[in-house]
Each structure stands twice: as C-alpha cells, then as structure tokens.
C-alpha cells in the first residue's frame, strides 16, 4: 500500500497494483460543469419515493395517537420527488466533487491517503453494522473483542499503556486528553492553569485548551522550525499543566530535542500531550511513549484508513501512560481470564465523552486496515510517506521558497514569498491553479508562522508517477511568466467562489434564498 522506494518515477512502479510504466498519474479534473438545482426545486406536489413494510398494525389516526396539544396541523414541507429524480440529483452532485478515489490530495496535515476498499466491506458486515449499542455484553463479544484488540494494538503502536476509543474525532480526543490532564493534576491536589502550545500548532489545540479550562501559552519556533528550547524553559513553572506537541510538527520536521523537552516539562510536574495528526510519519519507526509523552490522540481518519467522508466521521482514540490509565473515559472493553470480554469503567474515570462507544464502524475499518498491514506493513507506510515527501521537496528546490529546506518527514512547507514579489503569485493562487491540473490544492496559509505557506503531503499511497506529475504541475505553475490568472480555476465546476459575499449575505438554507433572493 506504500510507494515502492526501489523505483524511480521514470521507471514506473513494477509491483502488483501499481500503474504500468508511463501509466496515467492520479490526477483528473472534476467534470460536472452544469449548475445543479437544489432538491427542493425538483419537488412537485404529490410525488414521493418512500414505501414501508406491511405490518398489520391497526391504522389509528394521528389524532387518536397524539394529544391535541402536541400534534402539528400540517406535515413539515420537505421534498416531493421521485426516487429516480433524487438519484439523478445526488449523482450529478457527485460529479461536482473531487475525492481521493479520483485523484491525489496533497493536503498537508490531513493525510489524504487512498483507503483500501477492503475496509469498507469489513465495516459493512451485518454482524457489526446491525448491532444495537445497548445490546448486553454477552451478546456482543465480537464487538468487544474487536475494540479490545484495536485498543491494545494502538497502545503497541504508540508505546502507551491504555486507550479509550470513544472520542469521535481528533478535536474530541484533544479535549478528552486535556480533561485527563486536569484529572491527573487534581488527583495530586494541584490546580494548574496553563498549557503550552507551539506557534505552529493546529487551531484545534488552543480551542481545546480553552474548553479544557486552561489558558494557552505560546512557545515560538526557532530558526530550525523546531520548538525553541530556551524559550520553552523560560515558560515552564509549577502552573504549567502540560504541553501539546505534534511530532513531526506541522512543518513536517521531527522535533529532535524531544527528549530534552520531555525532561524539562516533567521536571515542573507537567504532562506531554501528543497530537497524533502526523502519526503516519513515524509508524514502526519511533513511538510517542518512547519520546516521553503521557497522552496521545490518534486520528484514525488520517493514519488508519478511515475515509474522510467529506469532513467526517473520523475517530480520535486517546492512549495514555500507566499513571493516567485510571482516569480514562469508560466504559472500556476488558479481557477476562477465561477469554471473554466485559465493559469496565476505570475507578477515577473522567466520564463518558460519547453517547455510546465512539464511531464504532470507523474503528472496525481501522482494525481491518491494521490487520491487512501488520507491523511490517505499517512501517512501510511511514517509509513511503517520508520518501514521497522528501523526493517532492527536492523537485521544488529553486522553484518555490523552502523556508526549512532540511530532511522532512511525511510533509513539508513551501512558500510563494518570492513568486509573490516577482509576479504577484500567492499561495492561494497556486492552490487554485493546481485544481485546473486535476490535483487537489495543498493546505494553504498554514502553519501560520510561514508567509504564503503551501503545506504539501503526498502520502505513501501515491505512485512515483503521480508524485512526479504533481511536481511537474507545481513547477509549471511557478514558471509561467504571466503568473497565475486571477480567474483560476477556469476548468472546475464553478469558478473562484465569492466567500466574502457568503458571509455578508448569509444564505444558510434554501428558505433563506427563497426569502432574500439570490442577488
């Protein structure tokens, strides 16, 4: 599932599954050019799609079933469409949508890798998908075993002792981790107020810190793009609850001083939180637990083949070191001596963070992906991701600014500062122009510490040909003497979208459009 390092882009990838030499790279434009009316505009009175099971239950009237004080007088107007028109509408919408299955998504920090179809089928098995979450544990031993195995394996991958699978996304995992941090300090009779975050951190970090009841203290990066160790030491005191780091960081650089950072934070009684957004880069290479981290969240939708679904659902399990295990959210699956599984809640649990057991089907997908890869395959994932990203960075030397031009991990950050000076080309323009080439845009303007940032993560699943085609597209865009046309993208389903107008004239529903008009 990873890129084959023994091949060069020119030679193509020879092994099974890869394209033939000279085969087409994974870039393709989105084709749906025609404006698609809303589903509401297809409605016609009396038309319907729905049908129901024959039950034989007496057909009482609504007025006999619902007291008058609650009964609505008219049905809620939704849609009145035939199934055929609905299917055509939704299918046309899909033609106006880019996706990983169509082409590459070099979106830094988001790890938009191809997810094997096997995982879709595994999670759709009726024995998993049709289980009611309140079914007693003696009837859901398969689910408990799956969740126990996944939690145990995530601990092995991260070097931690115990793991909750409840958090439904990365940000939920972050907040869970911060509440664990709070519970830990409170158990020691301490009230601490500050959490340290690097200036290159994801926005969810400071937002979660606030919701965890802490104040954010920012630590700057040094000239290497790494945490400034002296600046960090100057901020450490007994009021610091902990520090949140990603490693590799959002510049794609490995925090080489992590052992020193861990020692310094632990010295003042603080905890280290690992934001797992970039875990893909270190699978089987090193582990957060070995680096000294106390709390780790993982984004299963980045690293472990849960597709992004247009923005979710994901899954954000949190693993912890032994001293934090007693605070984990419950219930947790536990294996008894006789090999059966039960739900248990740790003695000093912070409580539930999800209505049920987390995004269970996403967890099942991740388990099938881990089974397919095994320990050796996961290391190859990291190797392929880091190789592709370093190779691509080399191709962009002298074309884009590379503010941190040193060996990177799974992603790197380029900049258009020079191109902007020379011909007005901004990071945004490069992203929009790349859409015309049939690639998704990189992450732009992040991390915030790099001017005109383009954050690029090719992932391990793109072939050498695709990475080469992406490099060529980026070089072509930069080399254009005219710069990037203001109208780019010109070949996409719609042209550049007026975001300012959307905020100025808020039209969040079709009813608002009907009332206020489109122009």
């Amino acid at each position: 599932m990873a890129a084959d390092p023994t091949q060069t882009p020119q030679a193509g990838r020879a092994h099974q599954g890869g394209p033939a030499p000279g085969g087409r790279a994974n870039s393709a434009p989105v084709v749906g050019r025609e404006h698609e009316p809303t589903i509401f505009e297809f409605s016609s009175p009396g038309r319907r799609s729905s049908s129901f099971r024959t039950t034989g239950v007496p057909e009482w009237d609504a007025a006999d079933l619902v007291p008058a004080g609650w009964l609505r007088s008219e049905p809620i107007p939704l849609t009145e469409v035939s199934e055929r028109d609905l299917v055509a509408h939704v299918t046309r919408l899909t033609h106006r949508q880019y996706s990983v299955d169509l082409g590459a998504y070099p979106l830094g920090s988001c790890t938009m890798k191809y997810n094997p179809k096997l995982c879709d089928d595994a999670a759709a098995l009726p024995g998993l998908a049709a289980a009611h979450p309140a079914t007693p544990e003696q009837f859901t031993q398969g689910w408990l075993e799956l969740l126990w195995c996944l939690a145990d394996t995530l601990c092995r991958i991260t070097g931690m002792a115990a793991c909750t699978l409840q958090p439904p996304a990365g940000a939920a995992g972050e907040l869970t981790g911060l509440l664990l941090m709070r519970a830990f300090h409170e158990s020691k009779g301490q009230t601490r107020h500050k959490v340290i975050i690097p200036d290159s951190a994801h926005g969810t970090n400071p937002a979660s810190v606030t919701l965890g009841g802490y104040q954010t203290v920012t630590v700057p990066s040094d000239h290497r793009g790494l945490v400034d160790l002296d600046a960090l030491r100057a901020r450490l005191d007994s009021d610091v609850a902990g520090i949140m780091l990603t490693n590799p960081n959002t510049l794609g650089l490995f925090e080489e001083d992590i052992a020193e950072i861990a020692a310094a934070v632990h010295e003042v009684g603080g905890l280290l939180y690992y934001d797992g957004a970039n875990l893909n880069a270190i699978l089987g290479v090193t582990r957060p637990g070995d680096m000294g981290f106390d709390i780790v969240h993982m984004n299963l939708h980045k690293t472990f083949a849960v597709p992004h679904g247009g923005g979710g659902p994901g899954a954000g399990p949190v693993a912890v070191s032994p001293r934090l295990a007693e605070f984990l959210p419950g219930p947790l699956p536990e294996r008894s001596d006789d090999g059966s599984f039960t739900w248990t809640t740790p003695a000093r649990s912070i409580g539930r963070v999800h209505t049920w057991h987390g995004n269970a089907l996403a967890l099942a997908r991740a388990w099938s992906y881990i089974l397919a890869n095994g320990g050796d395959g996961l290391r190859r994932v990291a190797e392929g991701a880091v190789l592709n990203a370093n190779w691509l960075r080399h191709q962009l030397r002298g074309v884009y600014d590379l503010p941190y031009d040193r060996p990177n991990m799974h992603e790197f950050v380029a900049s258009t500062t020079s191109l902007k000076k020379a011909k007005g080309v901004r990071a945004l323009d490069v992203g929009k122009r790349l859409l015309e080439e049939g690639f998704h845009a990189p992450t732009v303007y992040f991390p915030l510490i790099v001017d005109e940032a383009l954050m690029i993560e090719p992932t391990e699943t793109e072939s050498p040909q695709t990475v080469a085609a992406l490099a060529e597209a980026l070089v072509t865009i930069a080399a254009d003497p005219e710069g990037v046309p203001a109208l780019a993208p010109r070949t996409t389903p719609v042209g550049r979208v007026d975001e300012a107008r959307a905020a100025r004239i808020l039209l969040p529903t079709w009813d608002a459009v009907v009332t206020l008009g489109d122009d």
Binding site: Y98, T135, L211, T355, W356, A362, L506, P508
Partner: protein, 435 residues
C-alpha cells in the same frame, strides 16, 4: 527515488530521529494478512454478535432500528462522498457543499428554526455545544438540565463541564415529565435543557419550559427526536432557542452506536456563536450559484483559543445520508414514518400492559417509546428474552426524579419495521419470562 535525494537506504530517511528513540525491533504486531484472510477474521468477529438479523429489536434509547432504503445506501457510499476531504476548496467540492446546504435546510425545517449547522458528532455532543452557546450568550455558568434527558447525554455534559466550569443542575421529573418548579434556588440559569420526547418516551410541555426559561431570562435548549417531528409541533415553533438531536434514524444503521449524527439548529441571533461548520450559498466569479463554508471566523483554525467550539472534523457523510434519506421520505413519508412508529408503539403498549404485573413507569403521553415496570428486573428480562429471539429493550431507572442507565425498569421502542406478528410474539414471550 532514494538516489534522487542522495540516500542509499530507507533507514536513512529517519536519521533525524535520535537513535535512542528509534524502534530497533519494529512494532510488536503480527505480520500483515491477505485481503481474504482479513475478511475472514472480520467475519469471525461479526459472527460473535447477536444483532437485528437474529434478535428482533425493541431497543431504542436514542438508537433506532429504522429501514435504510437501497437509494440511501447506494448513494451515500459513492466514492465522491466517502473519500472527499472537508470542502476547503469549494471549486472542486460543490457536491458535498450543496448536499450539506440541502441537509441544513431540511434540519432547520424539522427544528422549526432558521439555521442549522453542517453536523456535530452525536446527540450528546450537540447538547454540549448548545450548553456552551447558551453560557457564552448569557454570560452565566448555570444550566438547568431536565431529569428526563438521556443519561448518556447527562454523563457527557458532566464530563465536559469539568473543563468549562459550568454548573449543571438536575431538575427532577414528576409523573414522567420535568417539574421546572422543583429547580433548586441558586444562580439564575443561562439555559434550560429538556428532551422531548424525554428518555422515558414521554412528551414534554415545551410551552411550559419556555415560560420557565422566560421567568429566569434563560435560553431554552430542546433535544428532539427528528422522527417524532413528523407528527409533533416543531420545538422552534414552541419557543426553543436551540434545537439539538440524534440524527441516526435517517439513513444510518444501528452501527453499535456510531458514527451517528448530531443535529444542531438555532435562531439567527445566535448564528455567530454556532459551533462547527456552516455552508452558505453565494456566487462564483461568473455569477453562478455556488456554495462555500461561511462565517468561518467562528472556527478553531481561525479564531484559535477564542473559537466558538473546537470542532473540526464532523460527521459530513452521515449528514449526506440524512439529506438523502429525508428527501426519499419526503413530506408525506416523514409523517407516515412517525405515524407508523406511533401506531406500533400504541399496539405494543396495550399488548404488554395486558400482562399481569406489568405497568407503566409514568402515565404521560408517549409516541415511539415507553418505560415499563416489571415483576422481574429488566436486566434479567433482557437476557431471557434473547433466548426467545428478542432484544427486549434497554434497562432504565428513575431515582429522585432523575433517569439513569441500567435500572430495573425496561425502555421499549417500536419502529415502523415491527410487524403485528412480531409484537404479538414479543408479548407472549414477555408474559412467559416475567411469570
């Protein structure tokens, strides 16, 4: 590729990792399996669960066994929806954006309010976000929570209140519905939170809750059941400021509890405090209609520690499923769905109450779910009923007017999938089991 970047081995890619931290022996995991072997192992695990394929489901508690039609299944699992990223590049994401815009319209209509967001994780997370919105809007820390709210929602609210410092005050039930006059004296609340139907299935008086909120200058937050909405007046029409709910019934199988769908809808005056993503309609460079995520200044990647919420990844694919399912149901279908649930529930309620020793926990009006007091503890009943081929319900209890998970009473739900024969068989089996 290695040679192109001046390396001779893959290990050199990781020279930046200090040697002491490197995992010399590799991961302590089994080797990878072939695709058929993975599927065989997943099938083995799946076969150890008893699900709707062999237990007729009368369990609810916020997770319902509704029909998922082929159109919803086939369309939701198209690659373009499943494998797309968050629509940060609207020029190539009109498909997801327009589907979310249509979803927002449908949810807002169900709630009876003008705006809905593009989804949250589940019902509990939507309730947490509603509480956060209300406390920010009112500058108060106290929230009154109905004793009838889903006990897992209450648990999640309590977990996150440790961080925000919010003071959650339980208001007890009387005769199965919330008695707002029993709220303890103290700081004025920022909001009142009530579920209707509540966890026991009883319909709450939203007008009375609105009046209680007005007496204290508080917002009214209502957790609704979007299926029951097909028959009931919308909470927004009855005065709710924020309406939240669990959207699983629209196109998502039971899924062992997730991924589900947090519904969130509010009044326009709160739109700048709305959590998570919001899609708006606008135009492109040629003046054609186009969709984009909007009011982005609320969100964590821009506002950072001052954001309205930390939500980033949400439940878009489940929202798309709900949009397709609601469009498939349509105006007449949603009403019929609610009506069929209510009919089955009435029929089951009468059949079960005819069993000696079985009574209602509270005699309030219900629609799709009700709580029974039994001569035998509910946990025992559920275990025995599985031998008869039924998932009989979910054990529940009420203590001091507050509902809790896992008591001796039994919560029974009936969806449009349950036939008269299944209900009759269930009643016969229950009669045997509680005898």
């Amino acid at each position: 590729m290695l040679a192109d970047i001046g390396l001779s081995s893959l290990d050199q890619l990781f020279d930046v990792v200090p040697e002491a931290l490197r995992l010399a022996a590799g991961l302590d995991l089994a080797p990878g399996l072939s695709e058929p072997d993975v599927l065989a192992e997943m099938e083995r695990l799946a076969s150890l669960n008893r699900t709707g394929t062999d237990l007729v489901c009368f369990a609810g508690a916020g997770a319902y066994d509704h029909e998922v039609p082929s159109a919803t299944k086939r369309l939701t699992f198209r690659s373009e929806f499943v494998t797309a990223y968050t629509p940060y590049q609207p020029e190539v994401a009109q498909g997801v954006l327009q589907a979310l815009f249509e979803y927002q319209t449908l949810v807002a209509r169900l709630a009876g309010l003008p705006v809905a967001n593009a989804s949250l994780y589940d019902g509990a997370s939507a309730a947490v976000e509603a509480v956060n919105l209300a406390t920010t809007a009112k500058g108060r820390q106290t929230v009154w929570v109905s004793g009838g709210i889903h006990p897992h929602w209450r648990a999640v609210l309590a977990t996150f209140a440790h961080g925000t410092g919010h003071d959650l005050v339980d208001v007890p039930l009387r005769d199965g519905v919330t008695d707002w006059s029993a709220a303890p004296a103290g700081d004025p609340p920022a909001a009142l939170l009530v579920g209707s139907p509540n966890y026991l299935g009883a319909l709450e008086d939203i007008g009375a809750a609105r009046a209680a909120a007005d007496r204290h200058g508080a917002l009214l937050l209502v957790g609704f059941d979007p299926v029951c909405a097909g028959l009931l007046r919308a909470p927004g029409e009855d005065g709710a400021d924020v309406v939240v709910g669990e959207g699983q019934p629209f196109g998502t199988p039971l899924s062992f509890g997730g991924p589900y769908l947090g519904l969130f809808s509010c009044r326009m005056e709160q739109v700048r405090r709305l959590p998570g993503r919001l899609v708006g309609r606008t135009v492109d460079s040629e003046g054609r209609p186009a969709y984009v995520t909007t009011l982005r200044a609320r969100e964590q990647d821009i506002r950072r520690e001052k954001a309205s919420s930390n939500v980033c990844t949400n439940q878009t694919l489940i929202a798309v499923a709900a949009m397709i399912q609601l469009s498939w149901l349509g105006t007449a279908g949603l009403r019929e769905l609610a009506l069929r649930c209510a009919r089955g529930t009435r029929y089951a309620r009468e059949a079960l109450l005819a069993i000696p020793g079985v009574s209602l926990v509270a005699d309030a009006p219900t629609l799709r779910e009700f709580a029974l007091r039994l001569p035998v503890p509910a946990g025992t009943v559920v275990a025995r009923m599985a031998d008869e081929g039924f998932l009989a319900g979910v054990p529940v209890g009420v203590e001091g007017g507050i509902v809790r998970d896992g008591g001796d009473d039994l919560l029974v739900a009936v969806t449009e999938r349950r036939t008269r024969d299944e209900i009759d068989a269930y009643a016969s089996a229950l009669e045997k089991v509680v005898r």
